[in-house]
Amino acid sequence: MMDLDRESEELVDLRTLDYVSKYDEHLMCPICHCPFIRPVRLQCDHVFCQKCLNSAITSFDAGLQNFPCPSCRTSTNGIFMNVPRLLLNMCDDIRVKCPFSEEGCMEILPRGHVQSHVDKYCEYRPIHCPEQACDKKTRKKNMSPDRRCLHGLTRCGTCGEDVMEQDLEDHTRELCLSLRTTCPGCAATVFRNSLKEHIDTCPEAVHPCSASKFGCAAKLKRVDLGFHEQNCPLITMGPFFEAQNSRIDSLDMTIRHLRQRNEILEEAVSKIPSTLVDAAQLLPEGRSVSPTRPHSRSPSQTRASDPSVDRSSGMSSYLLSLHEALREEVAGLSLALTDLDARASMAVMNESLRIKEDMAHTNSAVNSIRMQIHWLMNPRLHQGQRAASAGPGATRGTSTLGLTSPNAGSSNAHPSGPGSRGLSDSGREGTKL
C-alpha cells in the first residue's frame, strides 16, 4: 500500500518524453534543448528551465549574485522572474507520447496533461506488485482486484513452459508454441504460427484458377491446378481480355472527360438566354426615354433591330416598358394638375382679399358720405322741426288745453339758443370740409 502511494506521486520526467508535435525552436530551453519546463526569466529577458538554471548555478562557484546569464553573460543579480502564462501554455500544449508507450499505451496528449494521465488514467503504468516480497511490476490494467501477486510461475498446460500468471492469458491465446490448427486444405494439423507458410506450399490447398478474373469458375487443389491451367480456354484468351480491359478503361476515362466538358458547355448554354433577355430589357428601356415617338412603330423596330430576341418576351417587355412610360406620364399630369389647382386657389384668394379691402374702403367712404349728408341734413331738419313745432305744438296745446301755452312759450325760447349755435357750427364745419 505504501509503495502504491509513493508511486502515484512519482513525477514524470518531462525531458525524457517523446515529443510528437513539432514545436517552435524558441520554446526550447537553450540548456536542455527541451520545451521549457517551469521556465524562469532573467533580467536580460533570457528564459531557462528552472531546473537547468539551478544546476548551472550550483556548479558556479562565485555565488548567486554574480551568476551571469548563460546566454549573454549579463549579471543576473540573483533576480529570477516569472514568464508570461502564454509561454507556459504554449509549452504545455506540445503533444507527447505517454511515457508508457512501450508498455502499449497509445495515448498522445498535451504535455501539461501527462502527469495526470500517468497518475490516474494510464492503464499501462507498471505498478509495484502488492506483495511485499515480490519486486516485480504489473501493468495497472492487469492488476487483480484482490491485489494478489501475479508473478508466480505457472506451467502452461499445453506447451509446458513456465509463464507468469499475469502473462498466462496472452500466452494461451497467442504465444503458446503448442497451439495448433488444421490446414483447411489438406486437413493436416500444423502449428498455428506456421500456418501461413504451410498454406502457401500445401498441395491440397484449394486455389482458384489464375483466369478467375475472366470468369473461370474452376477452383482446384494446387496439384490439379497446373493441369487445368494448361487446358483452360480462358487462360489462352487472357492476353486478349487484358488488352480489351485496358481499352475499355481508357475509353471510360475519355467518356468521363467528355461528360465533364459537356456539363460545362451545357451550363454555359443555359446562361445564354438569360443574358439575351437582359440585353433585350436594356434596349426598350433606352427607347422609353423618348415617349413622344409614335408607339405604333416601336415594336416593329425592336423586332427588326434584334431579330434573335425571343419575339414574345420582347413584345411583353416592350409593352411593359410602354405601360411604365404611360404611368409616368399620368403621374406627371396629376402633379401638374395639383400644382395648377394650388395656383388657382391662391390667385382666387389674393383677388378676393383685394376685393374685400376695396369693399372695406368703399364702405368707409359710403359711411363718411352718410355722415356728411347727415350733418348737412341736420340744420335743415332743425329748421323743419322748428317750423313744424308751432303747428303741432298748437295742435297739441289745444289737445292738452290750459297747460300748453306757458309750456309752449318756454319751449320756443329754449331751442333758439342751440339753433343759433348750430348755425354758427355748421358754418365752421363747412369751412373745415
Partner: protein, 144 residues
Amino acid sequence: MQGHLPPGISIVKSENFEEWQMDIKVLDANPLYQNEIYRLKFTFGSKYPIEPPEVQFIEIPRSSETPRPIPIHPHIYSNGIICLDLLSSAGWSPVQTVESVCMSIQSMLTANTRNERPPGDSDFVSYNRRRPRDINFFYDDDNV
C-alpha cells in the same frame, strides 16, 4: 541533436552521449589550413551541458584514407589539446552546443595568421599527463 549543421562542420560519430567526433574545415582561403580537414573529439561528462565537454583535436596519420592532422595554431598543442577559455569551466556556458563549439574553433583557426605552436609546446606534450580540463591555462592572449 542538430538537424541542419552549418557549412564546414559534419558529424563523424555520435552513437552515444559519451564521445562524439566531428570534422571541421576552415571555409575561407587561409593558407595555413586550406584543403585540410581536422577531427575534433568531444567527451561529455555526466553533467554536460552544465559542465563543459572535453574537446581536443585527434590525429589520423597521413597514410590513412582520411588523414586528419593537428592544425598549427599558437593555442593548439601538438597533442591536440586546445587552449580556449570557452572550454574551461569558467568560460563555459550551458547554452553552448557541439555546433557552437565547432563554430568557435572554426573561427579561431580562420582568424590565425601565425604558423607556430604555443610556447613550450614540446615540454607540455612530453610531460603532460593530465586531462585538458584540469590544466590551468592562462588566457593571456585575446588577439587570436
